[in-house]
């Protein structure tokens, strides 16, 4: 790499430097909100360097292409929305700000590296950077036991999955003599699918499945999502998951593409199992936060269909789905944060009883997000699912699309149950008092508008994803 290629790495460098700045800013900045604002400005500055960043450096170790840029766009938006919904929450939980935002930015940096990784070494390091930041963020509310427990579970299982990932990388390295994803692909095209090769594929598949929470490697998700601070849950269910999909797509659809016929059946099995587990267990939940955790598992099961279908069509459908999922999911979590106050969790289904009477606007927004998560037109969720199904049908997996539709129908039960609780039940006890803030309102507004906008006018997003993958 020459110094002139530095522009390719500029977004990452800027993000790292600004994350350090945010970390230190708490020493000089008194007002907490300003730190959050600084984080948002940092994202904007980083995003500024994105358009000029296209290129491949370090012998293909770092790739900035349309694919990675789309994912970085998701990460940035996710980070901004998370910062917006965090400030009020941190106040309620009485936690410090500087490290929180800095760790969020480091996690995002890790995700950016994952999306751009052209080499398994960079991929591993990016993944660890993200994961380590997230372990800390999950346990950020130190005085709360649930947060500790979630953090511990996440950490131990995460480290376990990293070890499995490393074993997989080792196996791939043994078979191909390289860790470069493109070279792996070209070496594999000339090789027969031996058992040891398939073993390495499985190790990688398991490790990535853990990151995107495919069953049966999903089991950390509900516990961690429930125990983590809600703002972090919102972040985790979107950004890191998208990053997991980014590496899954890159490694499996580029590096391991020659073995496609071997891993597709496995991924289909995992996808169906994931949809089943996510949807069926979500029905059982009384806590909306935990229900959303299971729902995020189910949605990962849907999104994987994009990778199964493969090709421009499938990958762009998967990317769009993740983008859409971000808005509807962060929106739903924002409502949960809105319900949270000093001595009130506001996570139980019963807390939503009669919300339409006491807080019609909040209920209306929740209705929108629930509809979108269910996939009811004209919300964005419908568009996301539609293109996934279309990709599946186009790739010859009509039956898989039908299975997915059935599971979506089941999912309507628990999403619409929230709506029924809000609209058809009378409020119980004293009215829920909302703890809104301008930034939370802004996050809700952005999410709601985009859920509607993508639902009504999806073509720019669809064609954007098609172009960057094409």
């Amino acid at each position: 790499m020459n110094f002139t290629d530095i522009h390719t790495l500029m977004p990452e460098i800027v993000m790292a430097v600004l994350a350090l700045a945010v970390l230190l800013s708490e020493l000089v900045i008194r007002r907490k909100e300003t730190v959050g604002l600084l984080a948002i400005v940092s994202v904007a500055v980083t995003a500024y360097f994105i358009p000029t960043s296209f290129g491949t450096v370090f012998n293909g170790m770092f790739i900035s292409d349309g694919y990675s840029v789309f994912f970085k766009f998701i990460f940035f938006t996710c980070l901004i929305l998370t910062v917006l919904i965090s400030s009020r929450y941190l106040e309620i939980e009485r936690s410090s700000h500087g490290e929180y935002y800095a760790l969020l930015m480091f996690a995002t940096l890790g995700m950016m590296l994952m999306a751009s990784a052209g080499d398994l070494i960079v991929l591993y390091l990016g993944l660890e950077l993200m994961a380590l930041s997230l372990y800390v963020l999950t346990g950020f509310i130190r005085h709360e036991y649930r947060s500790n427990e979630a953090s511990l579970k996440y950490f131990l299982l995460g480290a376990f999955s990293s070890a499995i990932l490393l074993y997989g990388i080792m196996m791939i390295y043994a078979q191909t003599g390289t860790t470069d994803i493109n070279t792996i692909s070209s070496v594999l095209t000339e090789k027969k699918a031996t058992v040891s090769l398939l073993l390495s594929v499985i190790f990688l598949l398991v490790a990535f499945s853990f990151k995107i929470a495919l069953a049966p490697f999903h089991m950390w998700t509900p516990d961690v999502y429930e125990g983590a601070p809600t703002s972090i849950t919102a972040f985790m269910s979107v950004g890191p998951k998208a990053a997991g999909f980014a590496v899954l797509g890159r490694v499996f659809l580029v590096g391991l593409y020659p073995l496609q016929i071997n891993w597709i059946p496995l991924l289909i099995g995992l996808s169906i199992l994931t949809m089943a587990v996510g949807n069926i267990l979500a029905i059982q939940q009384r806590s909306v936060k935990r229900m959303l955790a299971y729902s995020s598992i189910a949605h990962a099961g849907y999104a994987v269909i994009g990778i199964i279908a493969g090709g421009n069509e499938g990958v762009s459908a998967m990317m769009n789905y993740l983008l859409i999922y971000m808005f509807m999911n962060i929106g739903a979590f924002s409502i949960l944060i809105l319900m949270r106050s000093e001595d009130f969790l506001g996570e139980s289904l019963d807390d939503f009883k009669g919300l339409a009477k006491t807080h019609p606007l909040t209920a209306g927004l929740m209705l929108l997000f629930m509809f979108s998560l269910t996939g009811i037109p004209p919300t964005a969720g419908f568009i996301g699912k539609f293109y996934l199904f279309k990709a599946a049908v186009g790739a010859g997996y009509t039956w898989l699309a039908i299975v997915t539709v059935i599971f979506s129908a089941i999912s309507a039960y628990f999403y619409l149950r929230v709506v029924i609780y809000m609209y058809m039940h009378e409020p119980e006890g004293e009215a829920v008092s909302l703890s809104g803030s301008p930034s939370l309102g802004l996050a809700l507004l952005i999410s709601a508008l985009l859920v509607l906008f993508i639902g009504i006018y999806p073509s720019p997003f669809i064609s954007f994803a098609r172009i960057v993958t094409g």
């Binding site: 070494i121 036991y145 990388i169 080792m170």
Partner: protein, 100 residues
């Protein structure tokens, strides 16, 4: 010359002992130590592969794995410490408030 697969066997044995420790031990700290065992298994295999392939990648990856392991240890043990502030049990089967 020692055959390459001896090293790989050694690595896989250590790796699997690590998995067993992780699955079977009740003490979180020993579980964590087991993960270090798994990493060492991977490291042995990687160094051997690297040596036999006459390529540095594997060794470089090992270097990074050790660095990350150090970072993981710091964070993991900090999590354990903050957990012990609220509960004193080191036994993983007593840490189960979040479930269902």
């Amino acid at each position: 010359m020692i055959p390459l697969h001896w090293y790989l066997w050694l690595g896989s044995i250590v790796f699997c002992i690590g998995i067993f420790g992780f699955l079977a031990k009740r003490n979180i700290i020993i579980m964590f130590l087991s993960i270090e065992l798994m990493l060492n298994g991977v490291n042995i295999s990687l160094v051997a592969l690297s040596h036999y392939m006459q390529d540095l990648r594997g060794e470089i990856l090992v270097f990074f794995i050790i660095a990350v392991a150090a970072a993981e240890a710091a964070i993991g043990l900090a999590i354990v410490v903050s957990l012990f502030r609220n509960r004193t049990s080191p036994h993983v089967d007593e840490i189960r408030e979040l479930k269902g």
